[in-house]
């Protein structure tokens, strides 16, 4: 059974803070939840479904359900596939609503990696008993070099250049200048990106997303409830999700799990890439955007570098406006997880509530796509297609 039309995003809120040393992570989650519930015109007691991921203190829903005192829960899902978890949550919430498991689903994300001094250049031990860890951690894989491996191979196979990757950062920065909450608001040029220090070649500092504190929340509800609220309605049209990995030593580093998730979302929605007016594309790194564009079918595999040139991702200029909030590259990447802000900006676009300088005129069909984990080893991938009704 399809989820197309079975549920709507009716509330969305992005926490305005980018540095929050005096806020607990639980408080950030609750402030985001409160913002989304108010945005929807609902009250906390309406929430009967709750979704969170690994950024939740303790790694699942126990502590936050307790802290927020959610007392009417009939459906709970703490699926965690890193930064794309929240796109998956939207799809799972629509499914749960379609199945009659809940009526009003709350999704939250929050974290303080900036205040806690986290970085993409530190080896992250993700826990005991990981089968891969003994064969990888001695080689010092960090977030940046695992994406750099994919970028280097993409350049080798397809001739993608650093200047092309830089175009993605430039587009994000042109959008971010209009977002008063963005962490980096200064427009940059291709030359400035190329002049930024190499972190792990071929990726430079400006190819990398920000490390920011903050959070966000989303409310998904069933059509009958949405109809009574009088708010702009964003229909969930289609979704896809998968996990992509090393395939036991037969990996293709130029292809992401979006090659599976994207086409499935388009099929469910009954639309094609040519129909999409705005795209939120997960931008942990510039290469992440480029590979998703290919895997979603906006261009052929290998043509992503040419696709992003000449401002093609810039609102008001190019064919496919992307990340009009400034994205993870310039605006916000709370808890080192950019999935929820991808959904939130797509909702703003579909409601016509993006900044006027970046609003896509008559935006009725948008896509949000995310990758969580590392393209270079293992990652989750998820795509959503959303429509203004």
């Amino acid at each position: 059974m399809s989820i197309n039309g079975k549920a709507y995003i009716i509330g969305a809120y992005e926490h305005p803070l980018r540095k929050a040393p005096d806020h607990s992570v639980a408080r950030l989650h609750l402030e985001a939840a409160r913002g989304a519930v108010e945005d929807a015109g609902l009250s906390p007691s309406d929430i009967d479904g709750y979704f969170c991921a690994g950024d939740a203190p303790g790694g699942n829903a126990w502590s936050l359900a307790n802290y927020m005192n959610l007392t009417h829960l009939r459906h709970v899902d703490s699926t965690d596939l890193g930064g794309c978890s929240y796109l998956i949550h939207v799809a799972h919430a629509a499914r749960a609503i379609a199945d009659g498991r809940c009526n009003v689903a709350l999704i939250t994300l929050a974290g303080r990696p900036r205040s806690e001094g986290m970085s993409g250049t530190v080896v992250r031990n993700r826990g005991a008993n990981l089968p891969d860890a003994p064969f990888e951690l001695p080689y010092a894989p960090v977030t940046v070099n695992l994406y750099a491996l994919a970028a280097m191979r993409h350049m080798h196979e397809f001739g993608t250049t650093n200047a092309q990757l830089a175009e993605i950062k430039v587009a994000a920065s042109l959008h971010a200048q209009h977002n008063p909450n963005a962490m980096l608001r200064n427009p940059v040029t291709v030359e400035e990106v190329l002049d930024s220090p190499v972190i792990s070649n071929p990726l430079r500092r400006m190819d990398c997303c920000v490390v920011s504190d903050g959070g966000g929340a989303i409310i998904v509800a069933r059509p009958e409830i949405v109809a009574s609220l009088g708010r702009p309605r964003v229909k969930i049209r289609g979704s896809g999700e998968t996990v992509a990995h090393q395939n036991a030593g037969r990996m293709d580093l130029t292809r992401t799990g979006i090659a599976i998730a994207g086409p499935r979302a388009f099929e469910e929605a009954g639309v094609t890439p040519g129909d999409i007016q705005y795209a939120s594309l997960y931008d942990s790194f510039t290469i992440t955007v480029l590979m998703q564009l290919e895997d979603l079918g906006f261009c052929e595999k290998g043509a992503g570098g040419r696709f992003v040139m000449n401002g093609n991702l810039v609102s008001g200029v190019g064919r496919l406006p992307f990340n009009t909030d400034g994205g993870g590259l310039c605006n916000n990447h709370p808890s080192n997880r950019g999935g929820i802000t991808k959904v939130i900006e797509a909702v703003r676009q579909l409601r016509g509530e993006a900044h006027p300088k970046v609003q896509v005129p008559g935006c009725t069909l948008a896509l949000a796509s995310g990758i969580g984990g590392a393209i270079g080893t293992r990652h989750g991938a998820a795509t959503l297609i959303l429509e203004r009704e």
Partner: protein
Amino acid sequence: MTTTTPRLHRVPADPALNPGDAAWFEAAGQGRLILRQCRSCGKPHHFPREICPFCWSTDVEWRETSGLGEIYSYSVTRKAGPLPYCIAYVVLDEGPMMLTNIVETDLDRVHIGQRVEVCFHHSANGTAIPMFRPVTHGGVR
């Protein structure tokens, strides 16, 4: 070409072994790179598992490798500690690809398609970690 990156090596982190992992590291301690191969479906895989990831058979065996391969992709990380280092995927001549480090060479000259051979560097607790260095051409590495 001038050498701009020093040939100093970071000491690899000690691997935290799970049950079943010791044989691969013990072989490394003897200067051997070994590979798991399934007797049921015939496919080799990496990282090594006690159950074939392709057909889920438990009939897996160790095989020796030539220790030779080719760089599939690499990145020289310069901002993650005091020493630059090169992470890479090497496709072994026997087929599977493995995450590793490229060492004992000018990191500015590492490239995709480069022929490499296994070598071994020790973690703090003395565990041998297989890494790769370019095969020599007339004594130049």
